[in-house]
Amino acid sequence: MVYMDFIKPLTAIIFCLTAGIISDIKIKKLNFLLWTIASYIVVGVSLLYSRVLSSAAIFVLMAIMIRNNGNKLVSGFNSAMFAMIIMIIADSVASFLLKKIYIDIDFQAQLRLSWQLFAQFFIIEGLIAIMFSVTMRQLLHKKMHIKESGKVDLKVLIVFFVTTMSVFVFMYATAIKGTISLHPQLIIIYIVFFLFLIIFTYFVFNTTFKERRLEHGAEEMKRLEEYTANIESMYRDIRSIRHDYSNVISSMIGYLDENDMNGLREYFKNEIVPFAGRMETADNNMSVLSRVKDPSLKGVLAVKIIRAQENNIPVKIDINEDIKIKTVEILDINRIVGILLDNAVEAASECEKPYVDIGFVKSENTLIIAIVNSTLDRSVNLRRIFEPGFSTKGEGRGIGLANVSEILSKYKNILLDTSIERNEFKQVIHIDESIKEE
């Protein structure tokens, strides 16, 4: 029957759906329709030649679809693999059930001839596949951080591909022989393989996840080291101030010995008053930082403040209470504060009267982090600076802010208020600390 050639590839639609569900991708309806049609055509054409070809074709097609919609290639292959297994299992279960119902007919033969039987088969298979894939999605994405696969070691990757491919080939070889419908017990073997694949996926992605954690740890360590180095340089500063101080005293004694009151008055106004002021801000900034109770955050702040002061940008820090952030991961806060301070220092450095003010303020259950700086650009487009890749001055400033937005998206309890007024740029982060993130 010729029209069966058009009906059979319909299974590709279920395949598409399964792959879509299992990879948990957000894909536009129209786009998804196009992919479905494409896979229908590809499967339809390749089915005319051989079943193996059609399965391989749809497998590759699905991997590409998942990759094209924002996932890594590994995730693409992995999810396509799962979709394939789910399809085979659904196929076996559906034909097993129908054979039990229509016990008196030659099922395999009839399926090729009767579209009614095919329709029943199609519906059952579809339902099973969807149920299965929804369960799998929960399992894979909620528990195993599949999307965390930022960087994967090449060795791990090769092992992963070889394993999945061999599982795939083995399953396919058995399926092709048509043994599925003859020996329903084979489903058990499939399920065993399936579990094996799950465990394997878990290990691959979990290692990646841990690796990334370690990297973060190393980063934090580096920051701590920087912080210690800064403390040392501060200590040297204090010693030099002490040295200045004894100089001041001896000069004063000089004026007093000569009874030069006018000279002393002059000296007091020109030398001592600014000296006292300098001592106070240097001292104040660092003593204020001791109220930050997260060492890594303290490190980030110290590094950025000192770097700004080296560039002759005065920084004022305003922290009146002990700061310990509970609801946001400290690494995320460090990154956000780091990016915002870098931007603030960069923008301020272009001004005639540069300044950067930092405030950590607690108000009831809300922690407010305010970063204020002087800026030249009166016409900064607040919408565009957050777009990925946008930058007012070359070096990836826009990328920074897009990153901030991305990090913030993880948290329901953060509000970011950005404003610009009279040459002053303000970033205010409100963190609702009454909510406990799980």
């Binding site: 801000t281 104040n284 204020v288 004022k316 305003d318 009146n320 003010d357 930092i358 405030g359 303020v361 607690k362 108000s363 009831e364 259950n365 809300t366 407010i368 305010a370 204020v372 487009n381 607040l382 919408r383 957050f386 937005s405 991305e406 913030l408 998206s409 329901k412 309890n413 953060i414 509000l415 970011l416 208020d417 950005t418 404003s419 610009i420 007024e421 205010v428 409100h430 963190i431 609702d432 600390e433 009454s434 909510i435």
Partner: protein, 242 residues
């Protein structure tokens, strides 16, 4: 009538501030009076607790008591959320962000030989009075962007449009000089707005007062400040119908 409260631990300065305030009220002929001027923060709190209506508070930050001026101010805020708080301090540079974000202080006055105390106090009182009068007769509507107990008030007229963020479940508010990103849903926000706003797309709500041009062909709506929103087919028809 606005009541004025003054708290300063140094008796001489307390006297100076009180005199400056009284002088300002007299010369500007304002409907205000000094309710209490004391060096004891708890006395101030006790009186604030029993009175109603917004007041003006001149508080020294470094009080020689169990609580400092900032804590006193946050306690006052519990009873008088709309009051005008002005800090008097020798070290303003240390905590102006705290003044602003912790207790939404109106301003601060620097205690220093070079500063004209009378003039600064007069300016603060006039500023508070202006704000007080404008809030009294004000019919401005606000959008409330919440983050826990903290609420930002954004006047409807300033909002150009709302937009869903690229990241899920976050909404952006755009005004000419401000961008606020917070957790929310466009569908729920549209219910809190009045009829000057129009949901032209599933991810945009625009303020019709800010429309500068509409391109029916490309379905683009141009808004103040270089902003462009796309409208859905149905919405652009609806916009023309209005």
């Amino acid at each position: 009538m606005l009541k004025i409260y003054i708290c300063e631990d140094d008796k001489k300065q307390l006297d100076m501030i009180t005199k400056a305030v009284e002088k300002a009220i007299l010369t500007e002929e304002l409907d205000m009076k000094v309710e209490v001027s004391s060096s004891d923060p708890f006395e101030i709190l006790h009186i604030v607790e029993q009175s109603n209506g917004p007041g003006i508070y001149f508080l020294d930050v470094e009080l020689n008591a169990k609580i400092d001026g900032i804590e006193l101010a946050s306690n006052i805020r519990n009873y008088d959320p709309r009051g005008f708080i002005v800090f008097v301090t020798t070290h303003p540079e240390l905590s102006y962000l705290t003044f602003k974000y912790k207790v939404e202080a109106l301003d601060y006055i620097i205690k220093s030989e070079n500063e004209d105390l009378n003039e600064n106090i007069r300016k603060c009182i006039l500023n508070a009075n202006k704000k007080f009068i404008s809030t009294k007769k004000d019919t401005k509507k606000f959008f409330y962007a919440k983050c826990g107990q903290k609420v930002l008030h954004i006047p409807f007229e300033e909002i150009i449009y709302f937009e869903t963020s690229l990241t899920p479940h976050k909404v952006l508010i755009h005004t000419l000089k401000r961008r606020i990103e917070f957790y929310g849903h466009i569908g729920e926000i549209v219910r809190e707005l009045d009829d000057r706003f129009y949901k032209c797309h599933k991810s945009y709500i625009i303020n019709k007062d800010h429309i500068s041009m509409v391109d029916k062909k490309t379905r683009e709506i141009f808004l103040n400040g270089d902003n462009v929103c796309t409208a859905s087919v149905r919405a652009i028809k609806g916009l023309y119908d209005q």
